[in-house]
């Protein structure tokens, strides 16, 4: 039981990272109707920025803040230069263009930071585990990730639900034309939203850096997961993204934790060992396919499209 709780925490923690990534993606998708494969590159950039600032300042917190600002700016610049002209084009051109951006950014990072990848080391006090329940030890830092992300989620909720910007965002996600009709400076709104998405992605990139990695292409696998999340959650819906991220995170982790043992009852150990991890990865996509077949608008449709 305690073990199960621990695994669920791991799942939640993964889910939280996914949410950070998916939130930006779903906004950009919902509001600008842009399929942005390059979102993972912003996640990568954020991590690299942080790694650099950490070396310069020696402080993880400063590095985090610096990375967020840098990514916000990078995102807005990217939007103005490369993304804006894509809005007029169809999804196919989005795929082509942003696919090109992935190649570009991976190469750029290789040019600037070298091929080896970086480490973002934590302050020593983060290197231990705490007893959250009798018998359940959990790494402090992973708790930090969960809490920090929850904070961001809450903040995002407030922004989207309580502010004028949020009103526009919601309006945009459910009815793009309407926002245009309202005579809002739509260009500026788009740039802001894209920058926000970039910052959120960067936040995810920085938070995972100390436990996982800072390396080229780190965004590509998790990007697909993020897409799964926003499809399951419903394009344009932050709430949907949050719920779906948790679901995906839990399925992936709990699946990895328990499937191999279950399989061992029916298969040879070896087969089970190989099949287990891939099965749990598959189950996520099965869920997504099922959702698309039976509830194409996702769990929380934000838009009537």
């Amino acid at each position: 039981m305690l073990y199960f709780i621990e695994q669920c925490l791991n799942g939640v923690q993964l889910g939280m990272l996914l949410f950070l990534l998916a939130a930006g993606l779903t906004l950009v998708f919902g509001i600008m109707d842009l399929v942005n494969l390059a979102h993972g590159s912003l996640y990568m950039l954020g991590a690299y920025f942080a790694a650099t600032f950490a070396v310069l300042t020696g402080s993880f917190v400063i590095a985090l803040i610096g990375a967020l600002l840098a990514s916000l700016i990078a995102g807005m610049v990217l939007e103005v230069i490369a993304i804006r002209p894509l809005y007029r084009r169809d999804h196919l051109d989005h795929v082509l263009g942003t696919f090109g951006l992935i190649l570009f950014f991976n190469e750029l990072v290789r040019l600037v930071w070298g091929p080896e990848g970086r480490t973002l080391s934590l302050p020593p006090e983060m290197l231990t585990a705490v007893q959250i329940l009798p018998g359940v030890y959990y790494p402090i830092y992973r708790l930090v990730i969960i809490l920090a992300t929850l904070a961001v989620a809450a903040g995002l909720y407030v922004v989207v639900m309580r502010t004028r910007l949020g009103m526009l965002i919601r309006a945009g996600a459910s009815n793009r034309e309407m926002v245009g009709a309202l005579g809002i400076n739509i260009k500026l709104l788009y740039t802001l939203v894209f920058g926000l998405g970039a910052a959120l992605a960067a936040f995810a990139g920085v938070m995972q850096a100390p436990i996982l990695t800072v390396q080229i292409g780190m965004g590509e696998n998790i990007l697909i997961l993020a897409f799964v999340v926003i499809i399951i959650g419903g394009i344009g819906s932050i709430r949907g993204a949050f719920v779906a991220a948790l679901i995906v995170g839990l399925i992936d982790t709990v699946g990895r934790a328990f499937l191999p043992d279950l399989l061992r009852h029916v298969l040879s150990t070896n087969a089970a060992q190989t099949l287990g991890p891939s099965l749990s990865s598959m189950s996520i996509y099965m869920l997504m396919a099922a959702i698309l077949v039976f509830r194409p608008e996702g769990l929380f449709p934000a838009a009537s499209r």
Binding site: L127, I211, S278
Partner: protein
């Protein structure tokens, strides 16, 4: 503009195709990983290979050498393509390198089909040591199982009652965990394989290890993943509770990133930088002098490859068409290895000692030290599946 690009590149591909190279210079193709999180390994290999050539005046058996380095990006399918390119386009005389067992297994067919004399400087897939051994393919490293087998023996000596195994789900990962189970006499309470190379979050596996109640954990994660694993192991607070035993997870490349986290985690290896023989002293000293870094076993194995190739070219005094001659010469392993001299098994895999190594702190510096010899003249357990015999 794009159209011009196409024509230009087409022209380039046309241009980049030398007519059959006549044998003035020796062409060596070197395949390793030079990008991504494991690029450090590739660089260490390249450094060592360059150093080895320097030590020989950049000549093998008196013939000038040209080396073509190719990046397998750690992907089997890319590895095959690069291998084919080296053979078919660059018409290399020798090929060396290969970090990854799965890349090697994928590339083995073109190597064997083309009878290219190859020196594998790290990958030690079991199949390659056994039924898929080949007369023209040699290894200066080991068969995957050997190193963990040594660790298993050590854990027996220490009387470790039970262990939980964690490794990546690819050829080498499976070999390594299997190897430990061969010699280890205690209980194996669990065995986890993770997606390779893209899974870097080991929280699930660490939680399982903790829950299994095992007395120890054995792990195999080469390259960057090793750093991730150790970091997460420490973060999860397990270091104080469940001791870790590792193979290929802590090395001179990862220590500078791990620092204190690496202390007190023993490993086994066929080479440690402090091995007391002349060849090794020279190698390590010159390497540090030239690159301001410590060489790892990856480098050491690659450095030996240069000497091995040299012995081959000398034996046939430069007649590279005489592959039989070169093969027979190489089987003698007639050169000064930095691990101390060794013999080849019938499958062209070294029969050698394995040592216990530990991380120690010298001032601000962290280094690996040889603690003890675990096993002497160990031969891999797959050699009898290989039909070849030495000297035939």
């Amino acid at each position: 503009m794009i159209r011009l690009g196409v024509l230009a590149t087409t022209a380039l591909v046309l241009a980049a195709s030398p007519a059959l190279a006549e044998q003035k210079t020796i062409k060596i193709g070197f395949i390793s990983t030079f990008s991504g999180p494991t690029a450090a390994i590739g660089n260490d290999m390249r450094n060592a290979f360059e150093l080895g050539l320097d030590h020989l005046g950049r000549k093998l058996g008196g013939l000038p050498v040209e080396v073509i380095y190719e990046d397998d990006t750690q992907k089997p399918d890319v590895g095959v393509q690069k291998t084919q390119k080296l053979i078919e386009s660059d018409h290399v005389d020798f090929i060396a390198g290969y970090i990854w067992s799965n890349v090697l297994l994928a590339s083995l067919k073109p190597l064997v089909d083309s009878k290219t004399i190859t020196v594998v400087t790290n990958a030690g897939a079991s199949a390659f040591a056994g039924e898929r051994c080949s007369p023209y393919v040699f290894s200066t490293s080991w068969q995957n199982d050997q190193t963990p087998e040594a660790m298993g023996m050590y854990m027996n000596q220490k009387g470790v009652k039970s262990v939980f195994l964690i490794g990546p789900n690819y050829a080498a990962g499976r070999d390594m965990l299997a190897g430990l189970k061969i010699t280890y006499k205690g209980q194996v309470l669990g065995e986890e394989y993770t997606r390779w190379p893209d899974q870097l979050d080991f929280s699930t596996e660490l939680s399982k290890a903790r829950a299994s109640g095992a007395e120890s954990i054995f792990v195999f994660y080469p390259g960057g993943a090793g750093v991730q694993f150790i970091t997460q192991y420490v973060q999860s607070g397990l270091k104080g509770q469940i001791p870790l035993y590792q193979g290929f997870t802590i090395d001179e490349l990862s220590i500078p990133r791990l620092k204190d986290m690496a202390l007190g985690i023993p490993g086994t290896q066929e080479w440690v930088n402090d091995l007391p023989n002349e060849a090794n002293k020279k190698f390590v000293a010159d390497y540090i002098a030239k690159y301001k870094l410590r060489p790892s076993y990856y480098g050491a194995q690659t450095y030996d490859a240069v000497s091995l190739l040299n012995s081959a070219v000398l034996a046939v005094n430069g007649d590279l068409s005489n592959k039989e001659g070169m093969r027979k010469a190489m089987e003698k392993a007639d050169f000064k290895s930095v691990r101390g001299n060794f013999k080849f098994g019938n499958n062209h895999i070294p029969i050698q000692n394995f040592y216990l190594q530990d991380v120690v702190k010298q001032g601000d510096d962290y280094v690996l030290k040889t603690v003890a010899t675990i096993v002497e003249n160990d031969q891999d357990r797959f050699h009898d599946r290989c039909p070849m015999k030495l000297g035939e």
